[in-house]
Symmetry: C2
Subunit: 110 residues, 2 copies
DNA sequence: ATATGGTACTTGGCCATACATAGTACTTTT
DNA sequence: AAAAGTACTATGTATGGCCAAGTACCATAT
């Protein structure tokens, strides 16, 4: 039971929300997402991101197309499916509720 | 992969934070916490709360004393240890960072 | 042409937490 | 004595983040 471990637990689910959101703004591939997540101080590593993308794709929330790159192997560029858009909307509400609930508890000083 | 499942995932870790916070405000026992969590719309059930309290206690973050009840079996009243207080402070920062990071990403409309 | 280093993605296994479910123990009510 | 209610315990399952090792392709240096 240490802080680092709890930080990991806190990220669960939230990451999914953030990634769907990033993709909703336009075609991106994994490294784009990693860069944005890192610059927002949301710690993520490859071993987390890639399996997550695969999961979301298998669930029908994402689709991708291969695009050639000038500096390396081809890349998977992801976009949201309609189902993905709906799911993102649902997640949005869930996240807002969760933040509100937490505020309610942590601001309560009785 | 459904919404309900993701809600569960999002709660992971955050619950720990909320519970430590509730206990930090004074002696409480499990049903007190359950009531407050429910009224804040943070869905939790017995089967989640009790094991969590045991875990936190074994980690040295909580301690409890038995108190007789007028209407039923005795209760465990919990308080934070010093270690628990420090841990809660750390969690506070972690949570705030996480919310900020998420805001940064979800408000980014490029 | 071959070797080296970097980029992009894949896979298998581990661990921690939330939850469902069933069960124990004690008290009060009928 | 039986039934109902309260407080707590124990076991097993599912999921997601992460580590670590590995594959494959490209560009550059030797």
């Amino acid at each position: 039971m240490n802080l680092e471990n709890t930080q990991v637990q806190m990220r669960k689910g939230i990451l999914e929300y953030c990634i769907l959101h990033i993709i909703s703004r336009g075609e991106v591939y994994a490294s784009d997402m990693l860069e944005e997540l890192t610059s927002a101080k949301m710690i993520v590593v490859e071993g987390t991101l890639y399996p997550l993308l695969t999961r979301l794709k298998n669930a029908g929330l994402l689709e991708y197309k291969w695009v050639e790159s000038k500096s390396g192997p081809p890349r998977k560029y992801y976009t949201l499916t309609n189902m993905g858009k709906n799911f993102l909307d649902g997640l949005s509400d869930t996240w807002k509720d969760l933040v509100l609930s937490t505020q309610k508890i942590t601001n309560n000083s009785k």
